[in-house]
């Protein structure tokens, strides 16, 4: 399950997509929207995506991580449109035979998502707005 969604994200659906009898753990990574940026109060956030490419990249990342870490299953959902502060903008569910692979898979998924999936974030402040880019360490289509 690798989707973009305009509206609240559903952890239950992601969990169901990765849970299976061979799993020994399930991890949820939840990225949530912050209320401040460098001291400025953020009123709301808006996410925009290149839809078909973003979903294809999410699925490609999931396939890579599952191939690299045998036994792992991954599902990812990213929100688009208006996202109120403190709500999740991204959910990553991972199941794994053991916790070590589970944590590693979760980390690889979020790092690659930030580097490769074509999604943009606009922060709206009381006195303006700006497009916020991810840190340089996670930039670039080949960033892994």
């Amino acid at each position: 399950m690798f989707v973009l969604q305009d509206g609240p994200l559903d952890y239950g659906a992601l969990r169901a997509a990765v849970l299976h009898p061979g799993a020994g753990c399930v991890l949820l990574f939840e990225g949530v929207t912050r209320d401040t940026f460098e001291g400025r109060r953020v009123l709301r956030l808006e996410y925009e995506a290149y839809g078909p490419m973003a979903e294809a990249e999410l699925a490609a990342i999931g396939a890579e991580v599952q191939a690299e870490l045998p036994g792992v299953r991954v599902a990812m959902a990213h929100r688009v449109g208006l996202v109120p502060v403190s709500e999740p903008s991204v959910l990553i569910a991972v199941s794994a035979p053991h916790r070590v692979e589970g944590y590693e898979a979760s980390r690889r998924c979020i790092e690659r998502l930030k580097a490769r999936v074509p999604i943009w974030k606009r922060e709206v402040y009381a006195d303006g707005a700006s497009w916020k880019e991810n840190s340089p360490s996670s930039r670039g289509p080949d960033g892994r």
Binding site: E48, K114, A115, W120, P141
Partner: protein, 78 residues
Amino acid sequence: MIVTVRLFAALRELRGCEELRCPIEPGATPQSLFVGLFGDGPLARLPVAYAVNAAYARGDQALRDGDEVAFLPPLGGG
């Protein structure tokens, strides 16, 4: 030859639209198209990545009739 150009984030705002239809000359590339459309403007130095038909592509890839080209500003997902 005609390609469709998809614009996002700051590029979309600057141009005031999400999509353009652009006639191109043989030998045109994503990079040459970007320079033609934005090279004289305030976002000329934006470090964009390129996609052709919804997959990452090199800036010097030759474009073909009917391609969908996207200029991807620095990403902010997550």
